[in-house]
């Protein structure tokens, strides 16, 4: 599949400028349904109606407004909305670099792969230097009338830019209560470590499939051919054990046995 660039910009900080192209890192695999009128299978449209008389309001007459805390509505004109839009720009400003991992995953929204635009040398050098320094950059840019913040990251010579949530949208971990509970024994920690060890491996994302999506596509394909789809479901149960130590021990035994027989 050929990759098409979505946008072009220039990464800038200090004396550095690196022209880059944006490529989407994600592919939408969701199954999209159209909403149809049941009797004639016509795709329905949506319209905005005035609740007082049920009459549709044409698009060009629709106004925008914000509801205030007092329950009132302030109307905002199209001109006022335009005036709030950021200035168009190709700059991707790096406001600072921080140690890799400083930006918690909670902030991540949407990933982009970056490729060089024109001269590749700066791109290659920046990627290498970021990796060497184990740093990531905080970026700010305007893309298609919207301002974004992001994390600039490098791995295996490849630059990535992941858009971030705004600071008001990230829940502070201090709000999550930490419970103490009883102390555990050194032996329990040891067994837990052994169990993690026994279950350790590489991250292989291809080992997992979205089964629901697959079943829905099966259903669609079956019905498209005029056939009857057979619905079925799997079940599973698991046993319960008593104390933490016993459970860890039994878990270890089981995992080890499974490994041997595999």
């Amino acid at each position: 599949m050929s990759m098409r660039a979505l946008w072009k910009g220039v990464i800038r900080f200090g004396e550095v400028s690196v022209p880059v192209k944006f490529y989407s890192a994600v592919e939408d695999r969701n199954i999209h349904f159209r909403l149809l009128h049941e009797t004639d299978h016509t795709p329905v449209k949506q319209q905005m109606v005035d609740p007082r008389n049920g009459k549709p309001v044409p698009r060009e007459q629709i106004r925008r407004g914000l509801e205030t805390d007092t329950g009132e509505i302030v109307m905002i004109s199209p001109e006022e909305l335009d005036s709030l839009n950021p200035e168009p720009s190709r700059e991707i400003e790096i406001t600072r670099f921080v140690d890799q991992g400083r930006i918690n995953y909670q902030w991540y929204v949407r990933p982009y792969f970056l490729g060089p635009d024109g001269i590749e040398e700066n791109y290659v050098v920046l990627a290498r230097a970021l990796e060497k320094e184990k740093k990531e950059g905080i970026a700010r840019w305007t893309m298609r009338n919207k301002s974004y913040i992001g994390a600039l990251d490098a791995k295996n010579g490849q630059l990535k830019l992941i858009t971030l949530r705004y600071s008001g949208e990230v829940v502070n971990e201090a709000e999550i209560p930490r419970k103490k509970g009883r102390n555990f024994e050194p032996m329990e920690l040891k067994m837990a470590e052994q169990l993690v060890d026994a279950l350790a491996g590489d991250f292989d994302p291809t080992a997992y499939r979205n089964e629901y999506r697959r079943r829905v596509m099966d259903l669609i394909n079956t019905k498209a051919l005029g056939n009857v789809y057979r619905f079925e479901k799997a079940k599973k149960r698991r046993a319960k054990f008593a104390s933490l130590t016993d459970t860890l021990k039994q878990s270890l035994d089981r995992v080890r046995k499974e490994k041997k027989s595999a």
Binding site: M3, F13, G14, E15, V26, E27, R29, R34, L35, L36, H37, T42, Q47, M48, V49, P51, G54, R64, G65, E67, T68, V74, I76, L81, V98, I103, Y105, Q106, Y108, P111, G115, P116, E120, V124, V125, R128, A129, E133, R140, S147, K160, Y166, V171, I176, K179, F184, L189, P205, T206, N210, E211, K223, A224, F231, K233, R238, L248, S251, L252, R254
Partner: protein, 320 residues
């Protein structure tokens, strides 16, 4: 009081179940790691009345109710396979209250493009000890647990990460949702002039800081929009007092502005006061199917229920 705290945690949670590690079961709840603060601009009539969204059939040129609408998958232009809600419901994954950790992987192997949404896992009941044991073990080993689990009728791939004594659940994108990272123009193996690399490292160090600065991560657009709205409100300019639309009945009863419902939910989530709700019994609503939820909403006379999704129904019932 721990029971009180658990009750509060369950109320805030969007999923509850057990984290399974070998044969150790750890009862936990999932709490959102993110909140939406986007201001939603309402659509208004020229005189400032909030508009409602409605479906209509262009062939018959008339409005249609939610009950008259079915889903169709377009197999070729203008040709649809219709799928009922019931069919989709029977394809939904088996309800399960378990995140079974059968795989532990080095944290650094999970590339950022896989990360979708973040949740906190908090222990409930008697599970503080095994929770801490697992967290400490994972943190020490630098490992993340990988599992699939079912939440709100959907199956998720999830990475469980331990950080600062807390477990986080990060839902992951499936492999086929990630594009190959081989973007055009990156030379496979290129020797780099060591002076250029040195110069770049120097520039990076010059621009480096120890901490992130939250001020750089503010939503400036929303702030400016709110300021503008506040100025206009204070000056009484373009100000319309909001009619109590919910009280209206009859013909408009089945016309609903989803934004309104969503907004109210967000407000509820944000407010410090616990929601006054009879449905506090934890997550039982998550176990109901859409029809049951609909009937529930009907009893509670929640308006707009016929156009709500399953989750919107749950939220509306919780907040009723």
């Amino acid at each position: 009081m721990p029971e009180q705290e658990d009750k509060e945690l369950r109320r805030r949670s969007i999923w509850s179940g057990t984290l399974t590690f070998g044969m150790v079961s750890i009862p936990v709840v999932l709490l959102p790691g993110q909140t939406s603060q986007r201001v939603r601009l309402r659509m208004l009539s020229p005189d400032g009345t909030p508009l409602a969204r409605r479906y209509y059939c262009p062939a018959e040129d008339r409005p249609v109710e939610r009950e008259e609408i079915i889903r169709g998958y377009e197999i070729e232009k203008g040709k649809f396979v219709t799928i009922t809600e019931k069919e989709l419901e029977s394809l939904q994954p088996e309800k399960s209250r378990e995140i079974d950790l059968r795989r532990f992987v080095p944290v650094e192997q999970i590339d950022p493009e896989f990360l979708d949404r973040a949740y906190f896992l908090a222990p409930v009941g008697d599970s503080a000890k095994p929770y801490r044991l697992l967290t400490e073990t994972m943190e020490k080993a630098g490992k993340a647990g990988i599992a699939t689990f079912v939440m709100r009728d959907k199956e998720y791939l999830v990475a469980i990460l331990a950080e600062n004594g807390l477990l986080m659940a990060e839902t992951l994108r499936f492999a086929d949702e990630i594009r190959s990272s081989e973007v055009p123009g990156i030379p496979a193996d290129r020797t780099i002039d060591s002076n250029r690399l040195k110069a770049m490292v120097k520039e990076i160090r010059n621009a480096s800081a120890d901490e992130i600065e939250l001020n750089e991560l503010k939503d400036i657009y929303t702030e400016r929009l709110n300021e503008l709205a506040e100025q206009k409100r204070a000056a009484g300019q373009d100000l319309i007092s909001s009619p109590e639309r919910e009280k209206e009945s009859g013909h408009t009863g089945n016309v609903i502005d989803l934004m309104q419902v969503l907004k109210r939910n967000i407000e509820k989530e944000d407010s410090k006061e616990p929601a006054q709700s009879e449905k506090e019994a934890g997550d039982s609503l998550d176990d109901l199917n859409k029809t049951e939820l609909y009937n529930n909403a009907k009893q509670l006379q929640i308006s707009g229920r016929s156009t709500m999704t399953r989750q919107e129904l749950i939220n509306a019932i919780r907040n009723a």
